[in-house]
């Protein structure tokens, strides 16, 4: 393949690597200091649990960064019955 193709491939790979690396830089302090503010079900100091979620955090870190900044937690899922119960109690 020509030089342009190689350059495009190299750039894309660099972008993906950079994104994941930035994720890791965010995630390591996050699992130590911030995680309990976003999900109170994270209790105690289970190190293996924190290591297990690191790869996923490196992908989805912007979601957690936004929740951390806004002081929000994860939402509760909405099913047809939950919505119907809600509209029945607040008509």
């Amino acid at each position: 393949m020509d030089g342009v193709g190689v350059a495009i491939a190299e750039t894309l790979i660099k972008i993906v690597r950079g994104y994941l690396f930035a994720g890791l830089v965010f995630s390591v302090p996050f699992v130590i200091f911030g995680i309990q503010r976003v999900d109170p079900s994270v209790k105690g100091w289970n190190v293996l649990f924190r290591v297990l979620i690191l790869p996923g955090l490196s992908v989805f870190w912007p979601l957690f960064a936004v929740r951390l900044v806004r002081g929000k937690r994860h939402p509760v899922e909405r099913t047809a019955h939950r919505l119907a119960a809600q509209s029945a109690s607040h008509p």
Binding site: S41, V42, K43, V59, T79
Partner: protein, 363 residues
């Protein structure tokens, strides 16, 4: 349930299933290598290793994709649902070894991956070479089949990385499920990866035929299970003037079990236990498992998928757990007259807020 996350949820039974899984994988790889070497001893061992791990992952993917529809067709397969996650993570690692090999310090097991073997000669980064080595992107048969593998591996990585319960809660079940539906995209990509790979290296057509048989099996099983589900959901019941729905008789429900009916656009599980009737939303808060296919164990509705529990009369998990599902008002008609078994059960169409206590109807 969510009273603090555990790292890996192992109990005796799950551990046994995992040990069987890993032993089968190890046996498969050993047999694959022995047989291939037996057929042609001139083959490069590294090529054989790459194919052994790739095919082990692909086969395991067939098992994983079969478990869902099989357990819809028969509850006998429910125990496998518990282990599907560990199978998925195992498959990801097999695929990863297929691609990058295995070379951990201190571990005697060393294998070569496709990335090193095919792309590590020139002065290009092997990863870059992977994308530019074969540039027939506009061609069908000559299409770089390895790129299809890259797509599948990326999907498996995201799925394995989000397999912990933490992700289910924090991404919410619908998004998590949508993400994990990506397994079907990955499967499609892999069918292309394997078939094109075999075609391009002019291998025996048996490989293509085997992939075709697998495809027919997976699609057929899903169509069969899906058509059953659609039939059940079509039979939606509508309420009469007082807002209650006639869901059938007491005799229809076995003790400690439920009858599932569709009301208000979703399934409702009507349970019979201790001479009482209670109705709750059929959807488990964990991963939307079908509560109505579970049993009442120790006084709690127990989800057949991963064992989350709810008290039948209030739809709440027993303390200290905090899950709550919607409940439904129930009543029986014909109280006191005729055989109790013939009493009809009525369920109010409008659900109560999750966790609301409802007096059970006493038979």
């Amino acid at each position: 349930m969510s009273v603090g996350y555990k790292s890996i949820q192992w109990n005796r039974q799950k551990l046994i299933y995992d040990l069987i899984l890993w032993a089968s994988v190890a046996a498969y790889i050993a047999i694959f290598m022995a047989v291939t070497k037996g057929i042609d001893s001139n083959l490069d061992i590294r090529g054989v290793q790459i194919r052994a791990y790739g095919s082990a992952a692909f086969l395991l993917l067939h098992v994983i994709l079969s478990i869902g529809p099989l357990s819809r067709l028969s509850p006998k397969f429910h125990p496998l649902l518990f282990n599907r996650r560990h199978m998925g993570v195992t498959m990801f690692f097999l695929a990863l070894i297929h691609v990058v090999g295995l070379n951990l310090p201190g571990l005697p097991l060393k294998t070569t991956g496709a990335l090193t073997w095919y792309h590590d000669f020139g002065n290009l980064d092997p990863l870059v070479s992977l994308f530019v080595g074969n540039s027939h992107y506009g061609d069908f048969i000559q299409f770089p089949f390895e790129i299809l593998g890259v797509g599948a591996l990326a999907i498996f990585f995201v799925m394995a990385a989000t397999s912990h319960d933490f992700w289910l809660v924090n991404l919410t079940a619908p998004i998590w499920k949508a993400l994990h539906m990506g397994v079907y995209v990955a499967y499609g990509l892999l069918v292309g990866h394997v078939v094109l790979g075999a075609l391009q290296s002019n291998r025996h057509p048996a490989m293509t035929v085997a992939v075709g048989v697998g495809l027919v099996w997976i699609v057929g099983l899903h169509l069969l299970a899906g058509s059953r589900e659609i039939k059940q959901d079509k039979a939606t019941l509508s309420p009469s003037d007082d807002g209650f729905v006639d869901v059938g008789t007491v005799a229809e429900i076995p003790d400690n079990r439920a009858k599932v009916v569709t009301i208000s656009g979703e399934r409702v599980a009507v349970f019979k236990y201790d001479g009482k009737i209670s109705a709750v939303s059929n959807v488990c808060q964990h991963q939307n498992g079908p509560l109505g296919e579970g049993k009442v164990i120790d006084g709690c509705i127990t989800c057949p998928w991963h064992g989350y529990q709810y008290l039948p009369d209030c739809g709440a998990s027993p303390p200290p757990f905090t899950e709550r599902i919607p409940t439904f008002d129930v009543r029986l008609a014909g109280d006191g007259q005729g055989p109790v078994e013939d009493q009809r059960i009525f369920v109010r169409a409008i659900p109560n807020a999750p966790g609301t206590h409802v007096d059970p109807a006493v038979i």
